[in-house]
Amino acid sequence: VTRPRSVRLATLLAVVVGLAAVPPARAEIGFKLPPPDVRGLVPLAALPLDKPPVPAPSVALPAPRQPLPDPPEPALASAVWHRPHATMPVPGPLACNLLGAMGVASQQLDCGRKHFFRGEMEEARTAFQSAVGSGDRLVAREARYWLGETLLRLGRTAEVAAPLGAVAQDDPRGELGVYAQAGLGWLALGDRDAARALEIFDRLLQSSLPAPLVHYARHGRALALYGLKRFPDAQAGWRGLAGQSVPQGLATELNFWVGDTSGRLGDAKNAVPRLRAFTGGSQTFLVEQGLLRHGVWSRAAGEPQEAVRAWRTLLARFPASAEASWARAGLVLALLDAGDEPAARKELAQLEASDKTGTLSRPAVLAVRRWLMAADGRGAEARAFDDELLARDLDPAARAWVLLASAAEARTAGDAAKARDRFDLVRQNPIVAGYAAYAALGLAQLDFEAREFAGAAEQAKQVLTAQSVPNDLRAAALVTRGEAAYWAGDHAGAAEAYRRFLADFGSHPLVPQVRMALGWAEYRQGRHAEAREHWMAFAREAPNDRRAPEALLLAAELAAASDRRAAEIQFREVARRYRGTPHAEVAALNRAVLALADGRAAETLGDLQGLEQRSDPLALAARVRVTRGFALIALKRLPEAKRELTTAVTQSGDALGRLGLGLVAFERADWDEATREWTAARDAGTPGVGQAAEYGLVAVRFNQGKLEEFKREAPPLLARRPPPATAPDLLHALAAVAVEEKRWADARSLALQLADQYPTHEAAPATLGSLSAAAGAGGQWPLAREAHALLMARYPTKAGALTDPVVLGETQLRGGSAAEASRTLSAFVKASPHDPRASRATLLLAEAQEAEGARLAAAETLANFAILNRTDPKRPQALLTSGRLFQEAGRWSEARTQLERAIEAGDGAVLGEAGFRLGEGLRQSGQHDNAVEAYMTAAYLGGDTVWARRGLLGAAQSLSFLNQPAPATGILKKLLAVPDLEPEIAADARRGLKVLETN
């Protein structure tokens, strides 16, 4: 019973090759753990900042609901004395004569003319009236026209329409008809029927007018437009008359109308000189209105003294005029404007005495109250006045307003309780919506001042949900809500309020400050990109604001998290633009920190030059030194680094500095000092510093070779999810230790964890490669094969450099992939014939060839090996195996040569087997004499091996064939005398002996 020859060969070679390939266990850990990665550990410096307050914009107290009524409107009229009329024939001589009295209409008309000329209007009216009934159409028409004109001059306007209307109808295109139409236009204006007047004057201006009438028709049209409140059109009409030669009377009147219309169009400054010119003349027409309007627009133009003069003139000259009461009310306001409150109060008293309805006096009273509120140092008087007013019988709206004013006064005076009570009264009785909203805002601001932020935010929110809130109130409510919500911790609510403010009040002066606040609100919500955007916008919008560098600094810090390049540019900008400020120093330091984190240590040193002398406070100086220390470590300038870091630690006890000192010691392999510094850093540092120090301490253990301590300390560190820069190295080291200790399962688990969790780390493929190699070397063929497969799959470009092809070939061979192993090993042998591993690879190749059935190739491979490796101790075995394989392939000649060489080179078992196989071959080819010699060589030089005993058996058999029974018998007996003889050999020997004895 024999085992398959291949197995035998495999077993043999495995012993021969395998034992020699296993490397010494400790030699596998050929690396040191790196120091902790500290590049990102130097934090950006930051000034102690928080959101600056946004002052709530001031909100004017709402105007009282009962304002001073508009001043009385002026009559839409032009003085009749200078208005043109139709050409009147000169009265004949001796007008108003007997014939007229006797009913001669022409004489009556003439008489009327005479009186009209003389301004004797009543007499003229009588005469014209007499002539109107004339049967002579022309006389009657003329009489009617002049009757109309006369009636106009008599102020009997109600009677004018009939005669002028008849003339206009009778002779629409004639001179009298045209003038009659103009008269009807003036009549319509007098009736304030501006639309009809406009229609009439428009129609007139479209026809051919007598020259004197043109300017007046335009004036009448402008008056109609004024009456229709189409002030720009009216003004344009009057401006069209400017520069033209208009009659003096009209020119004077234009001063009134143009002036008043300028005021109505918001140009009070230009209204005043026109009205001053108008009222300064001697005319009487419209003069009360002129004085009234002069005062109105003077006050509007900020000239209260001129208003006072105008209204006092009006009151003195026309005390009974319709404008007098209003003028006195205006006088109260103007005197307040001028700061003459005592005089205003005197006028107010007169006004109250005469104005029983309170239409004018009530608004004036509230105006005095408003004035007291605005005046500095009059708070006590204002409060007293409030009490006086609240004791009166005020209407609800006026009472609410006084309460509101009183609450605002109390808040200003610091009497929060009174302010709150009165604001509450107004809010709970919303007589006027605007007052309630103002009161709610007041309550919100009181809450805010009392640091009841949540309540303030809610109150302000209620203001914002109210209907028709004035813009200034909304703006203040949004700011109050934003501020209150922010300090209440409702950063989302604050951000919403700030955003609404920016959307609705884009041109408000507080926009930059609100944008800054919005940045903070976003930042507090972790919305760093949005925060950064707002801070940068703030710096753009308010480059000269003292907080602009602060905003840029904050924005740059946020940028550093995602876009370090942008952050660096921004830090540089702050350092340049705000040189000499603390912000600039922080910016310069931070730029250096970013350069360090980016691996540009030399730049870091440049940025920091001289900064530690300028930096204040001391903590910042220490941070500068620490940053410089780390940069010097990166540049391997260890002594300088140690000096900087030591100074930093002395200045501030900075744990980061101690971490740096540990690094310096680590770089010098001063493990004890590194351990001391890192222990201190771990105990005192931030979490990041602590983690780095912990890793450093573990790395020190590993590098010191204190593997038991390393194995104890590293896994807990890994379990705490260390930074990505630390974990792969730890896994790498732990895997290496596991490999060294042949804890294959642990080694596999760690290598896979490394490859799975940190696939891009350089230690991942290295660990797989070394695991594959070590497992192969340890005979862990499946593990070796798995590790190599992973290496190939995940790191195809690195696998070649990390794989030992001889180990790989053997792994493949042992894993049952003989053909694959044959290719791997054959390629290696051909490519690297002089590699020290080539001889071993050749032997493995032969084994693989035999395993895949290519015995002849295996035989030749071994033959070549024997030729090329004459001194190799494995040469005799290779010759023997080669001979056996040739022999099994029937290639006796090559087999005999290889076997004879094996006998020559080998000894012991190799020689014994070679001799036996040579004998077998010679016997089978009939060369028994030579066969006996070969057998005996095996028997006598083959030692105590089975081959020696088989040699004796073969020799006996060949001697028997040569008919030499005696020696044959003797050999067989000798063989059978061998103790523990293999049974099959013993059986064959006895059988041979029996044959010999029989023969």
Binding site: L94, L99, S106, G119, G135
Partner: protein, 183 residues
């Protein structure tokens, strides 16, 4: 009215201004001073005529007639014609029809007299004749006015009178007298 130096022209101008200022009393004082202080001045006749007109307006017919006669002594032909016309109308009011007719005829006889004045004078003569029941004479004057006056109202009136007087010529007792000649 204290004018220095007081000349006829100044006084007359003052009167004119007083009229425009609707101060008729002042005007009359000024005209009276012209008459008194400068009786030989050409403006004295004109002032007399103005005063006559004023008196006529006040229905002071006698004073009007007297002043008109004084005015008629002036040298200006047109003014004299106007003065005669006013004199005639005043006399008519005083129901002194012959004197009235005589004054109207003085107008008619004046050379180059204004047509308005002339036909008013003829109309006046017609009235004076009518009041004196001299119907044919009256009709003749009315007819001339009705056919030749440039004043259509006057012509129309004259036609009416002519028709009435013509009827009176046929039936003298039933003719209606002119309505406004009574003082």
């Amino acid at each position: 009215m204290a004018l220095r130096p007081a000349t006829a022209e100044n006084l007359y101008d003052a009167a004119t201004i007083a009229v425009r200022l609707k101060r008729p009393r002042d005007a009359e004082v000024a005209w009276t001073r012209v008459r008194r202080e400068f009786p030989d001045h050409s403006l004295a006749a004109r002032a007399s005529l103005e005063l006559a007109q004023a008196a006529f307006g006040r229905e002071q017919w006698k004073e009007a007639a007297t002043l008109a006669v004084a005015a008629a002594k002036g040298t200006d032909g047109a003014l004299r014609a106007e003065a005669h016309l006013l004199h005639g109308e005043s006399e008519l009011k005083l129901r002194r029809f012959a004197a009235a007719h005589q004054a109207f005829q003085a107008v008619v006889a004046s050379p180059g007299v204004d047509a308005q004045i002339r036909y008013r004078a003829l109309a006046g003569s017609g009235l004076a004749m009518e009041e004196q029941q001299q119907w044919a004479q009256a009709a003749r004057y009315y007819e001339e006015v009705a056919t030749k006056s440039p004043d259509r109202s006057l012509k129309s009136w004259a036609r009416e009178r002519h028709t009435a007087v013509g009827a009176r010529v046929a039936k003298p007792s039933r003719s209606a007298p002119p309505k406004s000649t009574k003082p």
